[in-house]
């Protein structure tokens, strides 16, 4: 349960001949309860990778599978957190979180309990009856995360989830996600272009090349995190000051920089 596998995956947009090749031979395995971040220059196809796991796009060649089964359509075993939240504006916070549970035909009592614990988990109890437009961006993203978590999905897919938030809120949400990952570890595929975010959150960071996107390098952050005991620092800025963190970040930056400069030429 809960692993993701990309096996020789290509993606071409447009006509079969003469289309744009977005992804070229992607191979990646994400283990049970592992948090993997994909970073890459914009337009490299990292979001497309996530969308194929979600079942929104099909690979042009190769196989994307989750827990050993090839992905064919979207489903609640693979919950998605979108950059633009994608909450239903006409549903209250509670109703947004509850929809997936209703789709699973759970009895009302059980649903209420699950929604209550999801609200508690994301510190949303006082906003249960609010509508999305009455909430700040950070709060809306909490709702979207609660909506995903409440499904108890095999894998959690996060597509630049904090990209639309302001810097302060972003930091709070990053810390929150680390806290969540400790309380309730999940298999997570996390897409971002923010290097610090990837290093701070992920067990492994996959670096992609510019289009057509290929996986250039995969760095094991977890080993360093454990060896240097990052988790004893409750604040993100303290972790970001650590020499081991800075070293990793710089390493990824350099790798990405090569892609960017190649792009300019």
């Amino acid at each position: 349960m809960g692993s993701i596998r990309f096996d020789k995956v290509d993606k071409v947009f447009g006509p079969k001949a003469g289309g744009v090749k977005a992804l070229d031979n992607i191979n990646l395995e994400i283990g049970e309860k592992e948090f993997v971040a994909i970073v890459g220059p914009s337009g490299c196809g990292k979001t497309t990778c996530l969308r194929m796991v979600a079942g929104f796009e099909a690979p042009s060649a190769g196989v994307v599978s989750v827990s050993g089964k090839p992905v064919t359509a979207p489903g609640p075993d693979r919950a998605v957190v979108f950059q633009q939240f994608a909450l239903f504006p006409w549903k209250s916070v509670r109703e947004n979180i509850e929809l997936g549970l209703r789709n699973k035909n759970l009895p009302a009592g059980e649903r209420a309990d699950l929604v209550a614990s999801a609200l508690k988990l994301m510190n949303l109890e006082t906003h249960a009856e609010a509508f999305p437009h009455q909430l700040s961006g950070g709060m809306q993203q909490r709702v979207a995360i609660a909506r995903a978590y409440v499904l108890d999905p095999d894998v959690l897919l996060m597509d630049e989830p904090f990209g639309a938030l302001d810097a302060q809120t972003r930091v709070v949400m990053q810390e929150e996600l680390v806290r969540l990952a400790r309380v309730n570890p999940r298999t997570v595929l996390f897409i971002t272009h923010a290097v610090e975010e990837a290093v701070y959150l992920a067990d492994r960071v996959a670096i992609m090349t510019r289009r057509p996107g290929r996986i250039k390098q995969v760095l094991d952050v977890r080993k360093i995190r454990q060896a240097e005991n990052w988790d004893k620092h409750p604040r993100i800025e303290d972790v970001m000051d650590l020499e081991s963190f800075v070293h990793l970040r710089t390493q990824i930056w350099k790798s990405l920089r090569e892609e960017k400069s190649a792009n300019v030429i």
Binding site: A54, G55, F56, A73, P74, G75, P76, R78, A79, V80, F82, Q84, A86, L87, F88, P89, W90, K91, L99, G100, R102, N103, K104, F131, H133, Q134, R147, L151
Partner: protein, 262 residues
Amino acid sequence: MGDASLSLRERLAWGAFGLVLFLGIWTFLSTSGVVPGPFLPSPLEVLNRIIRLMTNPFAGATLPQHLASSVQRYGFGVLLAAAIGVPLGLLMGWFRLLDDIITPIFDGLRFIAPIAWVPFAALWFGTGIGGPVMIIFAGAFPPCLINAYRGARFVEPRLIEAARMLGTGNMRMILEVLLPAATPSIVAGLRVSAGLGWQSLVGAELIVAAAGVGFMMVQAQANVATPTVMAGMLAIGVIGMLIDVLLRQGEGWLRRRRGLEA
């Protein structure tokens, strides 16, 4: 717009000015003898006639009674159009196959003016309630369907993706995602439907009815009772405006509830 800075008060004042000017020219044309008497009754005559028609029946009923029977048919026709057009539009917006089957037929039919159905309305339903309702339906149906369809087709793709990843089935997708997302578009369509339906109604009543404002006007025309014709026209205009104001209120309320407007 250059005049966007006008205050509400100024705009109301200019509106009143336009109305007074209009009534002034009308009065002048009808009382000065430029236009012979029966060809253009004066505003005062029309007002007097309206007052008389409130209690004195003409063509079998008073003006309020004629209006009541018109509004009743109108209500039936528009409700029927909405009850069929909106669900069908949503279904077509979600099921591509249904879209492919219905769109060619619908695209042909919708260019037939509602009044063109009059011969068949008369043949099929006579002058009872069925004939006018059918004409109103023909006028009100296309905007209901088109707007529901467009509303459903142009739902933000992210919301549909979110609903799909939450495991939402077709029925719930239509009722809880497409319908609410399309509601502003549907309401705008209903407003157009309401206007077209009201216009079609009076056209229908001129021909296939034994009561209603349109019927009253045709009877008045036969008797050269021009103030009565004009009274009917005025009543049509005022009721049409009222319907639109009510629907616009409803639309505004919906938008505010959604947080689309402060």
